[in-house]
């Protein structure tokens, strides 16, 4: 018997009981479908997080004040007030920092923004013109804060602030933060994003204005610098580190009152989190795959019991042990492969649907497709083997007599 004949007789046997065949296949469809959908969605969210982080600038370093120790208790990083405007100006003017192209000192807070009788709570960033260079901020309308406006009461707003608080073009209109009135001079292009640091829900005002009118501090929350290219990130990090250590008169780098985070580090951390999540989801889906496989084994065992007389007859007519094993294995593998292919289609459709609903990029994972075909075939062999073996080792006399 060649493979073609094995296949056609397997198809014949499976179509004799369509309902049962369908139900057995359904288990595999659901198993493979959920594995593929979850892996695809996991990879999509991983890509989306990566893109968001990269959009913040892949070649930037963020310097934050170090942890403060009060009475032997170490406070959270960033709680200290060690970065000043003078640090930022010195960095900008230093010839030592050859790999740094721009320095953006930043003060951040949150505040109630009021305009046209509407108000909302937004992130308020005090920035210099360098901010737009370091963070690659694009303007949709108007312009960003310029050098001559460093003490003016002007504001650049994110696209979401513009649509929430204003009707028509916000440029030239005014908004209030606390009791200070600002004139809107520009609206940034939407970058997409969510959460606490959403660039679309941010109001940018000149750094000095912010320090005087809003936050009332002379310190900085962070300094972001951009390096010449991604290749010199390590050199740039060292330059900045030693420069600030020297300025702060610290000899031991372990005692530094600031820390430097590279975008790469944040990216790696975020990727590992989403990666773990993807594996976890795939693991859960794999359980349903195993349940599907057991379903196949169950059906094949029922089939063997039901067809004992047929097996006896086939053996009496000359079928060898191997032939019977192949017959039942091919049936099991056919069930699971068809289930796997259908599951793949279902998985792809579900992930396409969900990613369009929750605004994720649609990722078709080739790994998932190979997994679908490989794993489903493997499950067929694994769970089909025992029933096939059982069928083949029946004695023809016993099998023919079976009632």
């Amino acid at each position: 018997m060649d493979l073609f004949e094995l296949l056609s007789s397997a198809i014949e046997a499976l179509t004799l009981n369509k309902l049962r065949t369908g139900l057995a296949t359904l288990g595999i469809v659901i198993g493979i479908g959920s594995v593929i959908a979850l892996i695809s969605l996991g990879q999509a969210s991983q890509q989306s997080v990566q893109k968001q982080i990269e959009s913040l600038g892949a070649n930037t370093l963020t310097i934050i004040p170090g942890a403060q120790t009060t009475g032997g208790v170490r406070q959270a990083a960033g709680s200290n007030q060690t970065l000043t405007n003078a640090d930022a100006i010195a960095m900008e003017n230093s010839p030592q920092l050859s790999d740094i192209t721009a320095v953006s000192p930043e003060v951040s807070s949150r505040g109630q923004v009021i305009a046209n009788g509407n108000n909302e709570n937004d992130s308020i960033l005090g920035v210099t013109p360098s901010y737009a260079i370091v963070h690659n901020t694009q303007m949709q309308q108007g312009s960003f804060i310029s050098n001559s406006q460093s003490l003016s009461k002007v504001a650049v707003i994110g696209s979401q602030v513009a649509s929430d608080l204003f009707t028509g073009s916000p440029v030239g209109q005014t908004l209030r933060i606390d009791n200070t009135t600002f004139t809107v001079i520009g609206v940034t292009v939407s970058q997409g994003g969510s959460g606490f640091q959403n660039p679309d829900a941010t109001v940018y005002i000149p750094l000095l204005t912010d320090q005087q009118e809003i936050s009332g501090t002379s310190y900085l929350n962070n300094i972001t610098v951009s390096a010449k290219s991604q290749n010199v990130m390590t050199a740039a990090e060292n330059q900045v580190g030693y420069f600030l250590l020297a300025r702060h008169h610290i000899t031991d780098p372990a005692q530094a009152d600031f820390s430097i985070l590279s975008q790469q580090q944040i990216l790696t951390a975020a990727s590992s989190v989403t990666g773990t999540l993807t594996s976890l989801l795939a693991g859960i889906a794999a359980i349903s795959l195993i349940v599907g496989g057991i379903g196949i084994m169950n059906i094949m065992l029922v089939t063997v019991t039901e067809r004992i007389r047929e097996i006896g007859l086939r053996k009496a007519l000359g079928a060898k042990k191997k032939t019977i094993i192949y017959q039942f294995l091919v049936e099991a593998v056919l069930l699971t492969i068809v289930g796997g292919l259908l599951g793949m289609v279902v998985g792809i459709l579900v992930s396409a649907l969900v990613s369009s609903l929750i605004n994720l990029p649609f990722v078709l994972s080739t790994f998932a497709i190979f997994l679908a075909i490989g794993v489903s075939g493997g499950i067929g062999i694994l769970f089909g083997w025992y029933p096939a073996q059982k069928a083949a080792s029946l004695s023809p006399i016993e099998a023919l007599r079976y009632e």
Binding site: M1, E12, L16, E310, A316, G318, A319, K320, K321
Partner: protein
């Protein structure tokens, strides 16, 4: 000799008790014979049928079928012997359900690795021979008991075996259909086919040319029927 059985013993062991199913059975069958093996239930005639059908091997003794010693073969070698040398006809017909008569007759040919065109040709030929030339595409459940048994006979003949081995072929049939089947057997025998038939019904056995009687595992008589 087509069939040479000598000093055949078959002992079944169930736990520590042994049951002697066949005890020192010897006989020969020549080509072209029509033999009935008779005996009451429990006589050992089914065990003898299993031996002749190469479905089982004897505990001791020799069984040579068409020049091949079947006594000490492995399971797969026995399967091959059954495929090439023996055409089975069972009491319960044992056809594949819901498949066409053609598919059923082609089944042993498929295991023998015969090319598809020849399978179709042979299946048509033997179905026509048993009078089912107009029922080639009928599924087995559309046929009467007698017709189903005729399909089984066509299947038994398809490999052109050394013997046609029938186990209670009329046990599930009404007497008119039983007679039809016996007529087919007699015709086939006239054409030169060797037939060994196991039965417990004396009037069915009378259709054969020779009757071997088995009782308590022993061969008690072996004689020609009165008609022949």
């Amino acid at each position: 000799m087509l069939i040479h059985v000598s000093h055949l013993n078959k002992i079944y062991y169930v736990g520590s008790t042994e049951t002697i199913a066949l005890s020192d059975v010897s006989f020969d069958v020549s080509k072209g014979e029509f033999v009935a093996i008779m005996g009451p239930s429990g006589s050992g005639k089914s065990t003898l049928m299993h031996m002749i059908g190469a479905l089982d091997t004897p505990t001791s003794g020799t069984y040579i079928l068409d020049g091949e010693d079947v006594s000490k073969l492995t399971d797969d070698e026995l399967a091959d012997i059954r495929n090439r040398k023996i055409g089975f006809v069972f009491q319960a017909f044992n056809l594949l359900p819901r498949r066409s008569t053609m598919k059923n007759v082609m089944l042993p040919l498929m295991y023998a690795g015969i090319p598809k065109e020849e399978r179709i040709e042979r299946a048509k030929k033997y179905l026509t021979l048993v009078g089912l030339g107009d029922r080639l595409e009928h599924t087995t459940n559309q046929l009467s008991g007698g017709q189903q048994q005729r399909v089984a006979i066509a299947r038994g003949l398809a490999m052109n075996p050394a013997i046609l081995l029938a186990d209670e072929p009329t046990g599930n049939l009404a007497s008119s259909q039983a007679n039809e089947i016996m007529d087919i057997f007699k015709d086939l025998n006239k054409q030169g086919h060797t037939i060994v038939m196991i039965t417990h019904e004396p009037d069915i056995a009378q259709n054969a040319k020779r009757i071997i009687m088995i009782k308590d595992g022993k061969l008690i008589s072996d004689k020609k029927t009165s008609k022949h």
